[in-house]
Amino acid sequence: MKSESRIDPKIMEEIIRFNKNVLQAPKLVAAPDEIILEVTPHDVVQEIDKSRLLHYKPLTDKQHKTPLLISYALINRYHILDIHPDKSWVRNLLQQGFDVYMLDWGNPTAMDKYLDFDDYINGYLDGAVEYIKNESSVEKISLQGYCTGATLATAYTTLHPESVKNYIATAPVIDGWRDTTVVSNLAKNMDVDKMVDTIGNMPPEFMYYCFSVLKPFEQGIEKYVNFFKNIDNKRFVDSFLRVEKWLSDTPPIPGELFKQWIKDIYQDNLLIQNKMYVNNSHIDLKKIDMPIFTQVAVGDHLVSPECSMPLHYAVGSEDKTLRMYPTGHVGMIASSLSQKKVLPELGQWLLERSEK
């Protein structure tokens, strides 16, 4: 009996094309070392230990007087906020006439295991704020915190409200018990004392594990299938590789800082209950009384909206704005949506509250 093949020839074509793309990839794709993530020109204006304060060169003739300092997250590095000229958070703000600084926390080594919240908030962050105030001859600056960088910036703002004119919290990690993400489930069950006592700093490998369980099949399979399918699309490949390089660059987190972060935010949830202390100083969210803009991504699977939004309701400010965007954690800061919607709204809000 003659068997009839039912395989669509297009399927074979697809398979052959895909295999060809996989074979061609090494010729078409740049090596990670060839990709430079620092897009927008800047100067390193201050270094404290391993932290660096970056000052971006202006892109407009005239700038608004109140400078903006960005406190980036503890996970991965600040490059995502300036990942590509077309998707750069920093560049967009510069084009809107803002004077932008970025705090790079640096790459902690074994000897930094005792660095804690106090060092980051009252040391590096305060050092950066004081430098900017002096340099710009202003008494107050605008401060933006992203993700865990917003946890630090929030604590800073409660302790030094006299230095912050406007506060922007972008996907802030605030209410750990309300966080519905996988990361929070792992954090809640972690013996963090034992971890820090045994291995010191939180190693990047553990962070990679935490990321690998977030949408594992979409991120682990579909993403790479799409990459090989689009290997001829230079723009797509460039953008993909930049983000991949950024994802693979996660510095360790200092042990003591990590310990307090996991305990106070995810396990005991002290920050939102106004029960957190940093070097014996009380972190009272009601002390945030300046204008505050909270940005939340509805599809955020790293910091759920339920974890971020309580900040808006807990602060003492009368001038407060909460915006929700139909995107994810990274999409909110480095996507076409962020360029078209998130940044223009932020710029307008900031402009109305900055010294001209």
Partner: protein, 166 residues
């Protein structure tokens, strides 16, 4: 372990060697015990993954029973497969049972690391090198000193400003 033959061999420079081998042997025995516990949680970890995989595959089979015949059908099948697997695995990773087992698994892994650190410390000390704890003490001391210096610098700065204002 401190038997007579060992004690006899422990004269002079060999004394510390005998004491060290006793410490290393104790650690190795404890490593085996920790390894048993670690394997228990690792087995549960893989069991949870395998069960979730099987359940997700059953759901895919129910939703897409036909073998895809063309490119569009393959795309649709892939979408269904990824969505169901992502949903089911996210549900697992979010669950209490996964979180608890994973926490215990990591804890046992740390226990193993601790024993390995202890063995390393014995070797370091036998070579007259500082142990991990001693290096940690130096790190702590450095950290505290830096803090004190910063505090003093701030105070000095304030005094200077106050003096200039006068």
């Amino acid at each position: 372990m401190s038997s007579k033959p060992q004690a006899l061999a422990s004269t002079g420079p060999m004394r510390s060697f005998a004491a060290n081998s006793k410490k290393v042997a104790t650690e190795l025995i404890e490593i085996n015990e920790s390894l048993l516990e670690f394997n228990k949680f690792l087995t549960e970890y893989y069991k949870q993954l395998a069960e979730t995989w099987n359940e997700a595959q059953k759901k895919v089979n129910l939703k897409a029973p036909e073998v895809p015949q063309d490119v569009e059908q393959i795309e649709a099948f892939k979408r269904i497969w990824i969505d169901i697997f992502d949903n089911d695995f996210t549900e697992l990773f979010d669950s209490k049972k996964f979180g608890e087992n994973y926490g215990k698994l990591v804890s046992q892994e740390l226990e193993l690391t601790k024993h390995w650190n202890n063995i390393t410390n014995v070797i370091l000390q036998s070579a007259n090198l500082p142990s991990k704890e001693e290096i940690d003490e130096v790190y702590k001391e450095l950290h505290d000193l830096k803090k004190r210096v910063i505090k003093l610098e701030i105070e000095a700065k304030k005094k200077k400003v106050a003096k200039n204002e006068k």
